[in-house]
């Protein structure tokens, strides 16, 4: 437990040091802070005893925080949240390194807020208390808003405001649902308690109608964060305006809070609601895939393209999750990590050429393969990972999500009946073709082809500041940033087994109540048409 707190608090301490210290050393303090956080989590994961069961570790209740409200400072991980926290902690030092040349003004504030951002995301993943989770979840917005609003592009104010208000509004629903559950628990047991496991136990005893609304409220909150169609419009703007490292953390870690929320709260707490709304969410996810993919196709802004592709990819992730069988759920969790790696890496790659050319417009810039061969090799690798090429990490999650969707109707034999089935997989599968289209078009424009550079580049070099100091191709620091990501992409693609094994028990635990609920739901809905069929002949007889 101490290691978890170290990984959360040490960056905060580092942030304080940065705030009072000299601005020259800020970036190295920040880098050190994130490295310690990653180190602490890695040691924790190394000794993690619960890799092969779905238990939380540590499982003991933490110190009481607001006694009357029943909130505690309990932190602990199960494998899924540990993997996601590790992903965050892994990306943080890379993002700090990536900001060295990109952020040249107000550096102290930047690094301090960035560390706060990382801490609050890890806190949200680590929290075993619903209120603590909410604090981590919501507090990510503050540093992120500031990072976008201070260090972003030309429309940064609008983007930051929209992101803050939109996601904040969404999470109000979630907070209401969580408070309602706490109150419900107080009615049953006489005391407030916000322990997530306790709340889950309370929630699944609630009647179906209440679970339905509970699920809907939680879902709205998380759907904004994922973001699920049609609640996604804040994301492209935020990504477009955010500085590179901000985009990386936004896409790779913050969006995962939404899918993680589904895994941790919405699905296990309200199985009756989940069973009923499963096909609706699946339809929205499929619309997200096709809709965002088509928009990607006509994007000329590289960053917006990747932002919309996140919407499509997370749509597939949600589809896998809502297939509500182990294949889909495993795939979805795997996909969360994969998407974090490959999309984060793509944003970093785009940031690297942005620093050199000050444009993200694929119409004016292109053919970088000859000028930046090292960068191009990385870009091609990460794009292929994002396309879902077998042998790289993207494939495993994608294939399992799609497979889970396909077999979702396979009643009884898998032990997990569902209502999605092959047609859902066919339509979602079109997303794979579209993904190849828009990502290869992106590659075709910026990596391949004849070298094109924006007209203003020659003038900007004359008075340009930091950017001109970058070499033409990647410098060692940038190679150091991308190499761990590349290794992770290849390694997870070839050896997904350990991670799949770790996810399996958690996926099963999340789905524990679903076979029963879905069967009840299906018998309920199939009974209705049967009943009407029975009535019709009667009517006919009467009319005769």
């Amino acid at each position: 437990m101490n290691l978890i707190w170290v990984s959360i608090l040490f960056p905060l301490v580092a942030a304080v040091v940065i705030a009072v210290g000299p601005s020259k050393s800020a970036r190295w303090v920040a880098f050190f802070g994130t490295l310690v956080s990653l180190g602490a989590l890695t040691i924790f994961a190394w000794n993690f005893p619960a890799w092969h069961n779905a238990q939380h570790f540590p499982s003991d209740v933490g110190p009481s925080w607001i006694k009357d409200a029943g909130t505690t400072l309990s932190v602990g991980f199960d494998t899924v949240s540990l993997l996601l926290a590790l992903l965050t902690a892994f990306l943080m030092p890379l993002c700090i390194l990536g900001s060295f040349s990109a952020i040249t003004e107000r550096t102290k504030e930047y690094y301090a807020w960035f560390l706060v951002l990382g801490s609050s995301i890890i806190l949200a993943f680590a929290a075993r208390d619903a209120i603590l989770f909410y604090i981590g979840y919501e507090f990510t917005l503050v540093p992120m808003t500031l990072i976008i609003a201070i260090y972003g592009g030309s429309e940064r104010r609008v983007a930051a405001t929209k992101m803050f208000l939109y996601t904040f509004l969404g999470s109000m629903f979630m907070l209401a649902a969580l408070l309602y559950l706490g109150w419900e628990h107080r009615l049953v047991s006489g005391a407030w308690d916000f322990d997530i496991d306790t709340l889950t136990k309370t929630a699944i005893r609630l009647p179906s109608a209440i679970q339905y609304w509970l699920f809907a409220a939680l879902m709205v909150g998380f759907a904004v964060k994922i973001p699920l169609f049609p609640l996604h419009t804040w994301l492209p703007l935020a990504h477009d305006q955010a500085p590179t490292a901000g985009s990386v953390i936004l896409a790779s870690a913050m969006l995962k809070l939404g899918t993680y929320g589904n895994y941790r709260f919405a699905l296990p707490m309200a199985p009756a609601g989940g069973a009923e709304l499963m096909s609706l969410v699946a339809v929205l996810a499929i619309i997200a895939i096709i809709y965002a993919s088509l928009i990607c196709w006509v994007q000329t802004d590289a960053k917006k393209l990747i932002a919309y592709s996140s919407v499509a990819h997370l749509g597939l992730c949600m589809l896998g999750l809502f297939a509500l069988n182990p294949v889909g759920a495993e795939g979805a969790v795997f996909y969360m990590v994969n998407h974090g790696l490959s999309t984060g890496a793509l944003f970093l790659c785009i940031g690297m050429f942005y620093e050199r050319y000050h444009t993200k417009d694929t119409d004016v810039l292109g053919g970088l393969a000859k000028r930046m061969p090292v960068w191009s090799s990385f870009m091609v690798l990460f794009t292929l990972s994002s396309i879902g090429l077998p042998g790289l990490n993207g494939f495993v999650g994608e294939f399992l999500c799609l497979g889970g969707t396909f077999i979702s109707e396979h009643d009884g034999l898998t032990g997990y009946p569902g209502v999605l089935g092959p047609w859902y997989a066919v339509v979602a599968g079109l997303g794979l073709i579209f993904a190849a289209m828009y990502l290869l078009i992106l590659l075709g424009k910026i990596v391949w082809g004849v070298y094109r550079e924006p007209p203003h580049i020659s003038s900007s070099t004359s008075h340009g500041g930091e950017a001109t100091r970058l070499p033409r191709d990647l410098c060692l620091r940038e190679i150091v940033i991308l190499t761990p990501l590349a290794v992770a992409c290849v390694w997870l693609g070839l050896q997904p087994k350990p991670m799949l094994d770790a996810i399996a028990p958690c996926a099963e635990k999340m789905l524990a109540n679903y076979p029963k609920e879905i069967e009840r739901h299906m018998s309920h809905t199939s009974a209705a048409p049967l009943a009407s069929n029975d009535q019709e002949p009667v009517n006919e007889l009467r009319s005769e």
Partner: protein, 716 residues
């Protein structure tokens, strides 16, 4: 390895793990080539590494062939594998493991063999790029061989899918090798995307198989197949062959997914030879042969394959007749020959299809490599009207004569290897009980005539006739000129008078690596005829038939034993003759007739070819034929109009709608709501005490009214 009534049960043999080297060596070579690229190696080291690795891989396969005694499964490591229960449908297993049966070995033998030869050829062909893209090229080749190995040797369909997409990646990287050419980038993208459409079909087929049989391992699938599947998804068992078929059509460039293959000729020629002619494009044939038993799940599945194959053969041949770029002619001939293979699979002879795959691999690789040598020597010249009489130019004799071998084989000249392999397919079609298959057989025969014509159109134009040449578009390329100087020392041809118009241009003839490989391939093309010669002249068992008979494709092996007893066979006749004799006569006539027509139009009287074209174009009722053929039946344009354009317009509308309606009107509109509410009530906060008093009074009155109302309602 003789007649078999069923697929032999595979034995688990972990001790055969060394066969995995056949996949591992190319992978190692890919890693080393990537290192070479990172270290900016300027020598030919990457070629050496790749050649050694592929030769090693070939050696491993040969060794495995001699050690082979029955199907084996070789577990290597667990890949995407997990379980959530003990039941049949409660685990998902896709391990990295090998399934080695005679079909695997058959395929790997020619894949690794040709791979090695073509790498040697490429070491010379690509030498101008030393230190530039050389390492990248051989990286792609190694990745290709690795993926092809995984595709063929994998023990489950997910491994096959890994290889399937992996060869697509290799094709993408290598077609787009000259990445500064927009057409190459476009072609690479198109190849990958069209393949992806097929891949989706394959993926759905894989899911469907899992839904029905609960496993994806070949051995278990074939066993489960006998018990019949249990399905409870909406879809019927019988969609499986159709889904797999889509994948095969995409990879093997069949109608409707064939348009990517001609464009893929933008890649360096060794790539076209290895990937887009000899090996990768036959993966579809492999898939169907491997999953052959499942194609019986629907009575019309194989018939669909036959029809698609037959029509692709014809359509591609008609396009090939009217192209002037000889590499494209060969590309269309590849599509057409693949069509024959699918026709063979469809009418029920996996033997014919797989034998044709083998012979085609050799003669088509040979043809492409000769085409590459010519293109290379004449600075990228690909127009068959601008080259002539190569046969008589010193240094080009080996190229010309080996090309003649390739052309004879492609046109199925009597008693060449391809004659027998094509014969096996057409024989089965013409002796079928089904009328439509017999019709397809005749289509195939007609296509054979067209094939002979367009093949020899190329040879008579380029290699025969008076000496004349023009340099291609790359003649002013600097790097090209440098390599010229190098090759000047080796016996250069005298600049012939016909070449004067291009003063400084000297074609450079190929050296030993290219010539040597061409000769070996020509010998190989002869050698692959031996199984058929042995069968025809010595009544020995055909080796290919034996290989098929002990694999999953046994049902189409067409063994003598089945053949003799099959009463249906001899009830059919070809032109009133015994089908064997009749087919030999008709086939030979078609082939020789095609060659003669080509001889007349393209050697004897080259003017008359243009006159014929002009004559056709003058007559309105026939004009469409040459126009459509020259424009590839407008298939690309139709796809553009029917799919890409509407989708692109839809995407633009969605993009606009997303920004201006969903975000602009709905989200921002909602966000304006609180501001608007605030505006309405703002006058109330005027700062004047009286207005506050009035508001307060109003508020109190409202509250009182509400309380009173509740109170009254409570009384009722």
């Amino acid at each position: 390895m003789t007649a078999a009534g069923s697929i032999p049960q595979a034995v688990i043999a972990p001790e055969l793990a060394w066969v995995g080297l056949a996949i591992l060596l190319p992978l190692l070579s890919a890693i080393l080539c990537a290192l070479c690229a990172a270290l900016r190696v300027k020598s030919k080291l990457p070629a050496l590494i790749t050649t050694v690795a592929l030769a090693g891989s070939c050696f491993v396969i040969v060794k495995a062939y001699f050690a082979y005694s029955g199907p084996v499964e070789v577990p290597i490591f667990q890949w995407i594998t997990f379980e959530w229960g003990d039941g049949k449908f409660q685990s998902f297993t896709a391990d990295c493991a090998l399934y080695i049966d005679s079909l695997t070995l058959y395929w790997m033998l020619f894949v690794t063999g040709l791979g090695t030869l073509i790498t040697i050829y490429a070491s010379e062909y690509m030498e101008e790029d030393c230190g530039k893209g050389y390492s990248r090229f051989f990286f792609g080749m190694s990745i290709f061989l690795f993926s092809m190995g995984a595709l063929v040797m994998g023990d489950n369909l997910v491994m096959l899918y890994l290889g399937w997409e992996g060869v697509g990646l290799a094709s993408y990287l290598l077609v787009g090798y000259y990445y500064e050419r927009p057409s190459a980038v476009e072609a690479a993208k198109k190849a990958f995307i069209m393949n992806r459409i097929g891949d989706l079909g394959l993926a759905l087929g894989i899911f469907m198989l899992w839904c029905n049989y609960g496993t994806l391992q070949y051995g278990e699938l074939f066993a489960a197949m006998k018990d019949g599947g249990q399905t409870s998804v909406d879809w019927d068992l019988s969609v499986i062959p159709f889904l797999l078929m889509i994948g095969a059509f995409g990879k093997s460039a069949q109608i409707p997914l064939f348009t990517w293959l001609p464009d893929a000729m933008e890649g360096p020629t060794p790539v076209s030879a290895l990937i887009h002619a000899a090996t990768m494009v036959t993966a579809g044939v492999f898939l169907i042969a491997r999953m052959y038993p499942f194609f019986e799940l629907h009575p019309q599945a194989l018939a669909t394959v036959a029809w698609v194959g037959g029509s692709t053969a014809l359509v591609a041949a008609t396009i090939g007749m009217a192209q002037y770029d000889f590499k494209r002619v060969f590309a269309y001939s590849t599509i057409s020959q693949l069509g024959y293979m699918f026709l063979g699979l469809g009418v029920g002879t996996t033997f014919g299809a797989c034998y044709h795959t083998l012979t085609h691999a050799f003669f088509k690789a040979l043809l492409f490599l000769t085409a590459g040598a010519i293109m290379h020597g004449f600075a990228g010249q690909l127009d068959l009207r601008k080259l002539s009489g190569l046969r008589q130019m010193p240094g080009w004799r080996i190229v010309s004569w080996t090309m003649l071998v390739g052309c004879l084989w492609l046109s199925a000249f009597p008693y060449t290897a391809a004659f027998f392999s094509k014969d096996a397919i057409l024989f089965k079609a013409l002796t079928s009980e089904r009328g439509d298959f017999r019709f397809l057989g005749w289509v195939g025969l007609a296509t054979a005539g067209l094939t002979a014509y367009y093949t020899f159109r190329v040879w008579f134009r380029i290699c025969a006739g008076p000496v004349h040449y023009e340099a291609g578009p790359e003649s002013h390329d600097q790097s090209h000129d440098q390599s010229h100087d190098q090759s000047h020392d080796k016996g250069k041809p005298d600049p012939t008078p016909e070449g004067e118009s291009h003063g400084a241009f000297h074609p450079h003839a190929p050296r030993w690596a290219i010539n040597g490989v061409l000769v070996i391939l020509a010998i190989g093309a002869v050698v692959v005829g031996f199984p058929a010669y042995g069968h025809v002249f010595a009544h020995k068992e055909n080796w290919v038939q034996a290989m098929m008979a002990s694999s999953s494709a046994y049902q189409g092996a067409c063994l003598e034993s089945d053949h003799g007893t099959g009463a249906a066979v001899h009830t059919q006749t070809v032109l009133g003759l015994d089908p064997h004799t009749g087919l030999t006569i008709v086939g030979s006539t078609a082939s020789i007739g095609g060659i003669l027509i080509a001889w007349y139009f393209h050697l004897y009287s080259r003017k008359s070819a243009d006159q014929l074209r002009a004559a056709l174009l003058r007559r309105w009722w026939i004009r469409w034929v040459p126009i459509c053929m020259e424009n590839r039946w407008y298939v690309d344009e139709i796809y553009l109009a029917c799919f890409r354009l509407p989708m692109w317009i839809g995407a633009q509308i969605l993009n606009f709608g997303d920004r201006h309606f969903l975000d602009g009107v709905l989200v921002d509109g909602l966000a304006k709501f609180p501001i608007a509410v605030g505006k309405v009530f703002r006058p109330l906060y005027s700062g004047a005490l009286q207005s506050y008093a009035i508001t307060m009074t109003g508020g109190v009155a409202l509250v009182l009214a509400w309380v009173t109302w509740i109170w009254l309602r409570g009384f009722n």
